[in-house]
């Protein structure tokens, strides 16, 4: 039964990586900016949910979308006020995003409580059968992640705005000729990416003790997922996220926890050597 538990643990882990990484890959696809603020957006989503639930008394299920939208709005502001100027500038954009992440995280350290915080969820039961355990919050995370990513995939493939996003991702010049305005689409894409990061934080928050560094590890894993899945590919991101989740879960359970992250990087290197564009990226 341990193998089943390992697979379940991996799928849960992979679902959160997917929520984080899909936003990261979308933003890179459009802005050509490596968004190092994604980890702090995750952290802000978690703390916004904590604030809404514990301080404002708003139930968890209402707090989650509110927190995600607030983080999305913050993301739009980041794009409009700062990152827009660095669109397409790979190195400068990455440095600015990194600097913003440091600023936001240190501001959070100054403002937020120094002790770990937790919040409660209506999904506080556990499902247990034949030695395999799944908490209902974890099941909720998996369901929510798959529903959201399906909705995102449909949005990108079926809507006019989604097609504009894809056009920009493929060729900015050609997209402009077709009347797509990058200045209008980019904030929206950044907002969607930030909302997904905030949502991942909000969903994960009840599972762990909250600290301002909460987004550091998910950010690292998300970069591996994006590289593995192929930059700009939602489907590839999902497959890569689940792969990394299961690999990390298996490495930890059958070998040792400190090796889990290293194993993910080794896997990413192997995939990049064999297939530089990742699982689903364009050659």
């Amino acid at each position: 039964m341990t193998l089943v538990q390992v697979l379940i643990n991996g799928v849960v882990l992979g679902s959160t990586f997917a929520l984080m990484a899909v936003g990261l890959t979308l933003i890179f696809g459009i802005l050509r900016v490596i968004n190092f603020t994604h980890g702090v957006l995750f952290m802000l989503g978690a703390y916004a949910t904590w604030f809404l639930e514990t301080r404002a008394g708003i139930p968890y299920l209402v707090s989650v979308p509110l927190a995600a939208l607030a983080v999305g709005a913050f993301g739009v502001a980041l794009e409009l006020l700062v990152l827009r100027r660095f669109r397409g500038m790979l190195v400068e954009g990455a440095v600015v995003a990194l600097a913003l992440a440091v600023v936001i995280q240190n501001a959070a350290v100054l403002v937020l409580p120094s002790t770990p915080q937790t919040l409660t969820t209506p999904f506080d039961s556990t499902i247990s059968s034949h030695g395999v355990v799944l908490s209902s919050q974890r099941a909720f995370i998996v369901v929510a992640a798959f529903a959201l990513l399906t909705a995102l995939a449909l949005f990108i493939s079926r809507t006019r705005l989604g097609r504009a996003v894809r056009a920009l991702e493929q060729n900015v010049y050609a997209a402009r000729l077709q009347g797509v305005d990058p200045d209008r689409v980019a904030p929206l894409v950044f907002g969607i990416g930030a909302t997904l990061a905030g949502l991942a934080g909000a969903l994960i928050a009840p599972l762990q003790a909250l600290l301002p560094g909460a987004g550091d590890q998910p950010l690292l894993a998300s970069f591996v997922v994006v590289v593995l899945g192929g930059m700009g590919s939602v489907g590839g991101t999902l497959v890569a996220a689940l792969t990394i989740g299961i690999v990390q879960s298996g490495t930890t359970t059958y070998w040792t926890a400190p090796a889990a992250v290293a194993t993910s990087f080794v896997l990413a290197i192997v995939v990049l050597v064999v297939r530089p564009q990742g699982f689903f990226g364009n050659a």
Partner: protein, 411 residues
């Protein structure tokens, strides 16, 4: 030319952002404005700067907050009674705090700032995982280093100016194991989940003897200090059906996660906390009842002397929180330093170090009592605090069913 201006703006913005980030990154630390740690001229009063490198950010920030408050209480006490007198001159203490984030790299940076830039000669550092980063800097400069941390590799004859104003984790676990075995005579096996750093790897071998004495075996697992998703680790750990889980010197963010997720996975046994454990904070952060049955040491719930009561009240007044009793050791260490300076009649670190082992104070450690450096006979280490190790158990009840912490052995 048209392309140059936006690029220039971008580069300038990059530098501005990085500089702002660097400035904000240093917000958690305050540093001395004076160039020297002890200043006095003529017959005027002087100041002795006491440097505290501690975690004011990150997963161990609650430890840093407690340590800073406890040092400040001691300094206020010393200054209130007029400071220390050396060679006819009066010196008052001033606390200079630096955020080491419980991170070796940051510790080296702020250690250099405190010792080399600000010239502080008496430095306290939080964390067995960080002391290796500051000890070479301290020894090169000849300053006194007090490590508020578990571990022992940084002590000994090669390090005459390093002191450990902190209890011994192996001794602490020994007390817990003795009580656990007495209560559960048929128990044979526990799990140990320790941090994957110097503290975890160096403490585990020291716990072998107490485990053997208690007739227990253990399976050891290491986890990154900042790990948050612990289901995979716990899936592995719980395969062996341990009768208790020893969390070692994990920070609160980590042990809260272990307790919560292990309970979800069906673990019913007690957790063992042989290092700094904050019941007040953990019981609020965890679902009701998750901590019931768990054991911690050394555990002092009440002040046993006037000094202990005075410290506890000052701590509550300063922080608005219940005392974290382990941090009383930092308070007592500052009092011992003041005594040693007066005994040595010198501010020279070597002279003060020699006097440190000869003085004792009535402190708040272990609820209150005589505090001194020793440890050579008790556990073979010089310049370490000698303290009793009472054990506390969390029993059912309390507000919201979160449990009640009760002292069950005297130590």
């Amino acid at each position: 030319m048209r392309k140059t201006a936006p690029r220039l703006v971008a580069i300038v913005s990059v530098f501005a952002a990085v500089i702002t980030a660097a400035l904000l990154a240093g917000c958690g630390s305050s540093s001395s404005s004076s160039g020297s740690s002890s200043t006095a001229s003529g017959g005027e009063d002087g100041t002795i700067d006491y440097g505290l490198l501690t975690a004011l950010s990150g997963s161990t920030a609650s430890w840093g907050t407690a340590e800073k408050a406890s040092d400040q209480i001691a300094i206020d006490e010393i200054n209130k009674r007029g400071g220390v007198e050396v060679d006819g001159k009066k010196y008052k203490f001033a606390l200079k705090t630096y955020d080491n984030g419980y991170d070796p790299t940051k510790t080296a940076t702020v250690g250099r700032q405190a010792i080399e830039q600000d010239g502080i000669q008496f430095v306290e550092n939080l964390g067995g995982g960080t002391v290796a980063a500051v000890q070479p800097i301290a020894e090169r400069a000849g300053v006194l280093l007090f490590c508020s941390c578990s571990g022992s590799e940084f002590l000994g004859e090669d390090h005459p100016n390093t002191f450990r104003p902190y209890y011994d984790d192996a001794q602490s676990l020994a007390s817990i194991l003795q009580y656990f075995k007495q209560k559960n005579p048929s128990a044979t096996h526990i799990a140990q989940i320790y941090t994957d750093d110097d503290v975890g790897h160096e403490t585990i071998p020291l716990t072998e003897k107490p485990l053997e004495e208690a007739g227990l075996t253990s399976s050891v697992t290491y986890v990154p200090r900042d790990a948050t998703e612990l289901y995979p680790v716990l899936t592995k750990v719980l395969q062996d059906n341990p009768e208790a889980i020893d969390v070692g010197a994990s920070p609160e963010g980590l042990y809260d996660g272990m307790v919560k997720q292990a309970r979800e996975l069906g673990f019913k046994g007690p957790f063992m906390f042989p290092d700094a454990f904050d019941f007040s904070s953990a019981s609020k952060a965890l679902p009701a009842g998750d901590l019931v049955g768990s054991l911690s040491a050394p555990c002092n719930l009440t002040a046993g002397s006037a000094t202990g009561k005075k410290w506890a009240k000052a701590y509550e007044d300063m922080t608005g929180e219940e005392p974290q009793w382990w941090s009383a050791q930092s308070h007592d260490n500052v009092l011992l330093l003041a005594e040693a300076i007066e005994k040595a009649q010198s501010l020279e670190p070597d002279a003060v170090a020699e006097a440190m082992s000869e003085v004792s104070v009535e402190g708040a450690t272990s609820g209150g009592g005589t505090v001194k450096y020793g440890g050579e006979e008790a556990f073979g280490l010089p310049r370490a605090f000698e303290v009793p190790y009472p054990v506390c158990e969390i029993t059912p009840g309390g507000p919201g069913g979160r449990g009640v912490q009760k002292q069950v052995t005297k130590g």
